[in-house]
Symmetry: C2
DNA sequence: CGAATATATTTTAGGCTTGAAATATGTCGT
DNA sequence: ACGACATATTTCAAGCCTAAAATATATTCG
């Protein structure tokens, strides 16, 4: 089955270094390109940024009850300190507000009415932009790409987990 | 052929908004996760960063003659100002040096001997890390993912180009 | 109760990144 | 030569991001 049996393929059909590097380069190129496009649009059309949009998006999904700083930090995969600064800027813009809570260690935040309105407009535009960027793909390719990326995600996480147990 | 013919699929089989959004989310999740892993390793094991590594990598490929600031900026897809700062830090570390040139507007830089040594060590480790992160994928899946990402890249660029001609 | 520990967040210092303005140099046409 | 334009880079202000230390509050256990 395996061609070139002279070379031991220790990982049983897993991609080798060069192949992996090429894959990583493609992945990075795509996501950087998309980020730069979306970021420019958000700035030009809404005077906002991707991190702000991401935080508003998390709060939008959370609804009335909002989220704690820690929850936002975990959802956005960024540091706690980062969320602190982001929240301060969004609050200064009047897009989010603090909620009182029993445990005085936790800061719970949610969208204001204006934040909700503004996010909804941005989200609609955002969806169209992304759709446009992938318009050159067939529906089947997009679906397959999503599935393969899911596999990649699992591979990354299991490698990460394995390492922390070393 | 197309099921659910009641809904007009205006883009002829292109992914719709939700599907595209899901794809984008997966793409971003994967590349963020990888970046964070690699970044942590580069910091812990080499006291370096991803942007520094990227710049060294570009200079490594360029060889003796080095690259101008503008060339680095284009290769790394970052702003000119960014490269200026990066170069200053790498020079302070003794990893790169300036080359004299005829046109006094251009700054040409290349790796020092130390920069070359250091980069080679980092690149070797980097390749292993990436290989490890994708080890959970079969070789075939990795290959297919790479191909599909190539298609995605083309789609993104053509959307970008189309927009600038609007 | 009170001390040790755990949890949630903010602060801090430093690096990365951008777009726009400023600077410096080269080139081209007259 | 010289003015106008083009090219290459740096500077600047502001935002994003991180890890580590500091702060504040809650919980647990002796």
């Amino acid at each position: 089955m395996t061609p070139g049996a002279a070379m031991p393929d220790r990982l049983g059909g897993a991609p080798d270094g060069k192949r992996s590097l090429r894959l990583w380069l493609r992945l990075l190129t795509c996501s950087t390109a998309i980020e730069q496009r979306i970021s420019a649009r958000l700035r030009d059309e809404f005077g906002s940024t991707l991190p702000r949009f991401d935080m508003l998006s998390a709060l939008d999904r959370a609804g009335e009850a909002g989220l704690t700083m820690g929850e936002v930090s975990r959802m956005l995969m960024v540091s706690n300190g980062n969320v602190t600064g982001l929240a301060q800027r969004l609050k200064a813009d009047g897009l989010i507000e603090h909620l009182p809570g029993a445990d005085r260690r936790v800061q719970r935040v949610r969208l204001t009415a204006e934040g909700q309105t503004r996010f909804t407009a941005m989200a609609r535009a955002h969806e169209h932009w992304i759709e446009g960027l992938f318009a050159g793909l067939t529906d089947g390719d997009a679906e397959e790409l999503t599935t393969l990326l899911d596999g990649a995600k699992r591979s990354i996480h299991s490698a990460a987990h394995e390492e922390s147990n070393r």
